[in-house]
Symmetry: D2
Subunit: 345 residues, 4 copies
Amino acid sequence: MYSFKNDYSEGAHPRILNALMETNLVQEDGYGEDRYSLEAIGQLKQRIGRDDIEIHFLAGGTQTNLTAISAFLRPHEAAIAAHTGHIMTHETGAIEATGHKIISIEVENGKLTPAHLKEALDGHTDEYMVKPRLVYISNSTEIGTIYKKDELEQLKSFCEKNHLMLFMDGARLGSALCSSLNDLELSDLPNLVDAFYIGGTKNGALIGEALVICDASLKEDFRFHMKQKGALLAKGRLLGIQFLELFRDNLYFDLALHANKMAEILKDEMGKEKVKFMVDSPTNQVFPILPNSLVLELQQKYSFLVWEKVDSEHSAIRLVTSWATNENVVWDFIEDLKRLLKKYL
Amino acid sequence: MYSFKNDYSEGAHPRILNALMETNLVQEDGYGEDRYSLEAIGQLKQRIGRDDIEIHFLAGGTQTNLTAISAFLRPHEAAIAAHTGHIMTHETGAIEATGHKIISIEVENGKLTPAHLKEALDGHTDEYMVKPRLVYISNSTEIGTIYKKDELEQLKSFCEKNHLMLFMDGARLGSALCSSLNDLELSDLPNLVDAFYIGGTKNGALIGEALVICDASLKEDFRFHMKQKGALLAKGRLLGIQFLELFRDNLYFDLALHANKMAEILKDEMGKEKVKFMVDSPTNQVFPILPNSLVLELQQKYSFLVWEKVDSEHSAIRLVTSWATNENVVWDFIEDLKRLLKKYL
Amino acid sequence: MYSFKNDYSEGAHPRILNALMETNLVQEDGYGEDRYSLEAIGQLKQRIGRDDIEIHFLAGGTQTNLTAISAFLRPHEAAIAAHTGHIMTHETGAIEATGHKIISIEVENGKLTPAHLKEALDGHTDEYMVKPRLVYISNSTEIGTIYKKDELEQLKSFCEKNHLMLFMDGARLGSALCSSLNDLELSDLPNLVDAFYIGGTKNGALIGEALVICDASLKEDFRFHMKQKGALLAKGRLLGIQFLELFRDNLYFDLALHANKMAEILKDEMGKEKVKFMVDSPTNQVFPILPNSLVLELQQKYSFLVWEKVDSEHSAIRLVTSWATNENVVWDFIEDLKRLLKKYL
Amino acid sequence: MYSFKNDYSEGAHPRILNALMETNLVQEDGYGEDRYSLEAIGQLKQRIGRDDIEIHFLAGGTQTNLTAISAFLRPHEAAIAAHTGHIMTHETGAIEATGHKIISIEVENGKLTPAHLKEALDGHTDEYMVKPRLVYISNSTEIGTIYKKDELEQLKSFCEKNHLMLFMDGARLGSALCSSLNDLELSDLPNLVDAFYIGGTKNGALIGEALVICDASLKEDFRFHMKQKGALLAKGRLLGIQFLELFRDNLYFDLALHANKMAEILKDEMGKEKVKFMVDSPTNQVFPILPNSLVLELQQKYSFLVWEKVDSEHSAIRLVTSWATNENVVWDFIEDLKRLLKKYL
């Protein structure tokens, strides 16, 4: 049984484990004040091309979202998110647990536009309603789509005019930036969003997200918030060492490129067989629509999520590739699928 | 410069890193449903000798405290803690941030007694005050002392009679259970407390605490609370693999025994030199009282915390030993100290 | 300018002010333990026909909703509400501020059905999502519709089978129970919902809602929650005296009947003129759809809310009647409207 | 049985009820936007002598404390309070329920000094602890003492130098400002504190506290916070009308003067009999220390709180006077006490 269930099925890229091995007995200060974390922060600032940003390492996506959003908002302020947004759907009310409503916007392809934001603002006009204040977007989104540079520019411009913060969940930022359709650089982001994070967990790290705070007004006392939310690891080195390795050269992007390439093979080959997709996703998640009986048979050999029912006979499944996906297995999968398509179509 | 600052200055015990290496490319389900976590839970249940307990792995102590305590309490209920308790002093209001007051009790040696609990109950008698409901203790405590079995029995008995839950922070449980003064077994704990955790971070793991929920009424839906607080790691295997290794044989206790032994050498040798201690702590934290000028000179070669001012000429310092403490350095330290004592006394 | 903006534009029914006058200098205990509050509770229990319910008086609707819902739910549990529900739209995130998500369900006429609840349950199936636990309904609803007995029975039955609590916001319960379409008695409610409240503020009291907790498991320590949320008035007598007066005889229902009768005149007479309505509401809120220019002219003499744009030429307005609405003014309004309809149609 | 239990045993001053009567059927906007509230705010601003302050009316003390403090603080920030402070002891954890720790300082006479604040700051030095940010004081305090002008100036000066806000709970501000020892004017307060409130409930109103926000940075969006906490009354007129009446002339101060005068008679006459006091309180709370058996006999005729045990034979009781206290009864009480003192001493 091979798993295409998610991009965190394996451990970490071997270079990361090696880095942990090599540094293992060096004594360091705790809570992110170790030399590796500091060095990793310096390296990332250089990579991003900005020295005035603040970077913190946290363990996972939900933790990063809840720590940042609750730090950034006052009690009556709300986040705006796509109805498919991770904070809206799959974080067990983590944001609300910190006291903040999420204004959910029905969207088509996982992405918010200025028109969506306007809709949220128009619906929240006085003190009997929460005050929309932070816009939560994911890149790549929960269904694999990405934001183009001009889309972000438009969002940013709308946000600036309307006293909104723009926050980008980058749990799968690697895959987004390495998409063939992408036109963003890491160094563009501080100009386009007020804060974002660079996801490690889903791109080859054991754990770890690098939160980048771009807007100066959001930096103050951030480590207090991290500690309060249980997000300051005693052995913060564990995060620093990993990011240091991921961005020492191009490893972070190489891993994402591999994941995307594996997804592209899946899409291309399925496309040749006239398979349709729930959404056109240029990253490491693929959502083919297949006959239910075929899905059942595929599940004998591969594990993946059945994402949604399309009609009484068909379902969209989700195939996720990663830095660790074995290309041979991808081709085996394609072979198996072709065979089954003949049988079931 | 050698550090006695804390017990999380190094990475992890090499066997743990090896275990991570060996399992690295095996595909597993996420969020703690991997085979390693399940196996580690089974192993721990066997070690504890109870099958009706529930075990969850979390990343760190503050996270475990806030997730458990907020899950266990209703909004108007409060925790009782020693004024030195970690949740009271060093977690940036993490418990209050989940909505709960901590009733602080002034104590002598870091430990709560039934008399302390009675004091808290007597001071909280009606609906204009919070309702004391959970007793938070640490073992070993924040100043290195431990609870004896009969002390816990008395606490437990008082708690049962007074509708209080007893929760043990075990960030340093290894050191407590391996203290020469200890008379508790791991298997005693489910009879003595309603929930406790087995600290990994401070005893050789990279990260990780194993929360053991003993009281059946506290188990329901606990994973929801973990996810909501950002405490469900996508790669939960990282925690499972470590605990599996720590309790595969006696590694967890061997590491704590080493830490304690190193502390004992420090205490014994300093005792021979008539050094006095702030507190008599039978675990891996040692609090000698030394002349300020001597402290300054020691700091040229060793790093440690200056814990508190004792008088205008003396301070108590904190020396922490761990699984990784080098015995040779301990003896060097003793040598250096003896020399300095001659100079400054 | 006469106001049809809401049902809290005036002070209180004169009998209530008289009761406050008469009791004014009697010394009483504070915080709802005065004789009037106790007597009012006894009287209400008799009226409801149940001695095993618990009754608390709170100041207003938002306060009652947030105090009750946060007391009833554990941190990971969520409320389900219609997208038009008051807690979802007009309470500035009061429920989320206590830590709980509201699952919003798109509805037609302000009302939830078992099918809606099933939709919410089907969408929340594991620990990565909040756990739906409390169903919030309003009677009458925010757009004036009411629940029939069999509709509540179906909801209750679904809730019982699915471990859901049913909570009824009764800010306008008087108007609902006095609707010509209503088939519910006050005494039916404890069998149909787990908790509800009897709104005073919008039916002739100065302030005050009587929260009735029917489910035994929800009663424990409720006064603690009230105090914590700032909802225990020092002079609780202010609430007790009012409810005592409202339910001493039929005053509460007489006031609601008057409000409904005034609304009925408005509907009937507008209906005769072929005016269409946004929703068919059998209580004290009326939502006629009128030409925008007519609305503008009406606003010269009457104040009311423009509820929503219907098309480029028409808007629905909201007219609210109350215990204090002057019947003569209602007829004047109808005359004016008829005149304007001739002009604008 | 006559009650000296508290200053909210009766209803409201008759002029207030008359004002409610007279305005009763006037139609007004809801939620504090009625003409009476607006007029009352204007009148208070004039009385305070500042136009740049912002004033909001809330229902009670706990509600005002929790709404203001949670609006003013960011999540990691804490309040500093005397261990006798109302928010620390008698509000069921209302502040913690909004997420904030209260740093409790042991004090002698209910009052905080700069030395106390320094102690709190010295104990909170890094991100592992909450950040002290708001100083909560009460005037008069919970045990009847008051702040002199120079004491407030010293606090204010310390706060300004240390980035602390100064917040004054004025539930009994009337009694404080009318104390014979007082040297403060209402108009001094905006220069001395960042926010304070003028308590109505304990000085002749049915309900109501007037929160005055002096620091410009604390004003933004305050009505959002009120609505979210259930503190915006639909019939806000109820609060406005009362404050309008209380400050139309000198009524507010006349009522407080009467309360203080009654307390002074009690103190003077008991002093003549050599009765000792737990604390020297120059306001409307008196704390005589009496033999237990005398206390028991007094309780046959008068109700009051037994405040604390002084020794095995004596207790301090609390006698509270108010605007409504009957002077004849005060003299009766003195007579009875003298008689009992002869019997028991």
